[in-house]
């Protein structure tokens, strides 16, 4: 545990995140220009997609991959139901906001995933390359589940300047820029394979960790500023934003070990379940569920859950997976 914590806190990626948090709390005027932040997020999506696609083009799709995919997609549909129930009862949120927040917690955070892969690799528990495919597959289901919870199936909101059907919503979700780019790059990686990837790897692979540092610096700044500005947060929501990643993380890890994944991959599935989206889902919600309050869902996912996951929970989940997998690395 302590070793994991040291590893976490000597990673430049994590340290830049902490720098961002501290700078914002100290009310520094440090900011990453808006178009750069956006470009970095696009870059990260493309790079991760490519890497995953190349990995799958090498390994092929076997039973392990399929069961990991199945487990991920199932979690994407089920986790929002649980989250919704907690948010409506204990969290005292209304239907719309409960659905919106549930979508965030059911979906995944690409950056949390990447940070977890880095930390796990540092512990000689590198997850399988196919986990990128699992991550990609987990992005959308929770958005759909959350929208249905918030709106009811097949409803229309004619009052809001449009005749928006479920079909429209599905279109908006699946053409969301981060989903298109992640999946598109994944397919490109699969088509091209390692040979085609080689000439672009200095840009997409060698540069990756450095870009991630600056991106996390920005996320630290934004998370802390949002926390300081926040008006809609209650102590109940703060509790949920810590409770859900712990429970979902443990559940995901168990599920991963259960379907036969190695410790690193199972921990990664745990992290995916524990993480809450703050890129793809908020953007989709602004479009498909504009009445929901970003002051709630972004503050929970980005300002509380994300730091908690990066700084503490990834370590916990990794230790839990190692414990479950046993000392020989085989499920006991």
């Amino acid at each position: 545990m302590i070793e994991t914590a040291i590893q976490t806190f000597s990673s430049p990626v994590v340290l830049f995140f902490v720098l961002g948090l501290l700078a914002a709390f100290a009310r520094s005027d440090l900011t990453i220009p808006e178009p750069i932040a956006k470009a970095m997020s696009l870059y990260l999506m493309a790079a991760i997609g490519l890497k995953g696609g190349v990995a799958v083009s090498k390994s092929g799709i076997d039973a392990t991959v399929l069961s990991a995919l199945g487990a991920g997609i199932a979690a994407g549909f089920i986790l929002p139901l649980f989250a919704y129930a907690v948010l409506k009862t204990f969290g005292k949120l209304d239907r719309i906001n409960s659905g919106a927040v549930a979508a965030h917690y059911g979906s995944i955070s690409v950056v949390t995933f990447v940070t977890a892969v880095e930390i796990l690799t540092g512990q000689a528990r590198e997850p399988g390359g196919y986990m990128v495919a699992v991550m990609a597959a987990m992005e959308a289901p929770a958005i759909l589940a959350g929208l249905m919870l918030a709106r009811g199936v097949g409803s229309k909101d004619a009052s809001l300047g449009g005749n928006r059907t479920t079909g429209d919503m599905m279109h908006e979700v699946f053409t969301n820029s981060s989903i298109v780019l992640l999946l598109g790059a994944f397919v490109i990686g699969m088509i091209g394979g390692a040979d085609a990837f080689a000439p672009v790897s200095p840009f997409f692979e060698a540069g990756f960790k450095g870009v991630l540092c600056l991106f996390l610096l920005d996320m630290g700044l934004i998370a802390a500023r949002r926390m300081m500005d926040s008006r809609s947060m209650t102590w109940r929501l703060v509790v949920i934003a810590i409770f859900l990643p712990i429970v979902n993380g443990a559940a995901g890890t168990l599920l991963g070990i259960g379907v036969g994944l190695d410790a690193g991959s199972a921990a990664t599935l745990g992290v995916l379940c524990a993480s809450a989206s703050y890129i793809a889902v908020p953007a989709a919600m602004r479009l498909a569920l504009p009445e929901a309050d970003p002051g709630i869902y972004l503050t929970m996912s980005l300002s509380i859950t994300f730091p908690f996951n990066v700084l503490i929970n990834i370590g916990l989940i990794s230790a839990f997976a190692a414990y479950l997998a046993g000392p020989t690395g085989v499920v006991p």
């Binding site: 808006e34 956006k38 300047g161 449009g162 703050y278 908020p282 953007a283 602004r286 504009p290 970003p294």
Partner: protein, 102 residues
């Protein structure tokens, strides 16, 4: 001296993600055009927001110049969004040259 005519200039502050709802309303009101101006941050009753396109919290100003009757029809059409989606609308009279364009 050059001749000018009076038109309404309408300015709507809206979420960038929802711009299409505003421009659809402009087209429904049969106004000939619109122009988008970026905004970077703001504060209102719902607190502070900043342009964060990664998370989709960014807003824009949609500007359009139109004859009074069309402008009022547009305001009518947008009214529910002002309430439900937190848009802001203001309008005023301006002089334009070549009024037939608007």
């Amino acid at each position: 001296m050059i001749e000018t005519v009076i038109r309404k200039r309408i300015e709507i502050l809206a979420d960038k993600a929802l711009t299409k709802r505003v421009t659809d309303a402009i087209e429904k009101a049969e106004i000939t055009g619109w122009t988008i101006v970026p905004v970077t941050s703001g504060k209102g009753r719902e607190g502070h927001w900043r342009e964060e396109s990664v998370m989709g919290t960014d807003k824009v100003f949609v500007l359009t110049i139109a004859a009074e009757d069309k402008a009022m029809a547009l305001a009518e059409e947008l009214a529910p969004m002002l309430t439900n989606l937190g848009f802001i609308l203001s309008m005023w009279d301006v002089q334009v040259i070549r009024g037939e364009r608007f």
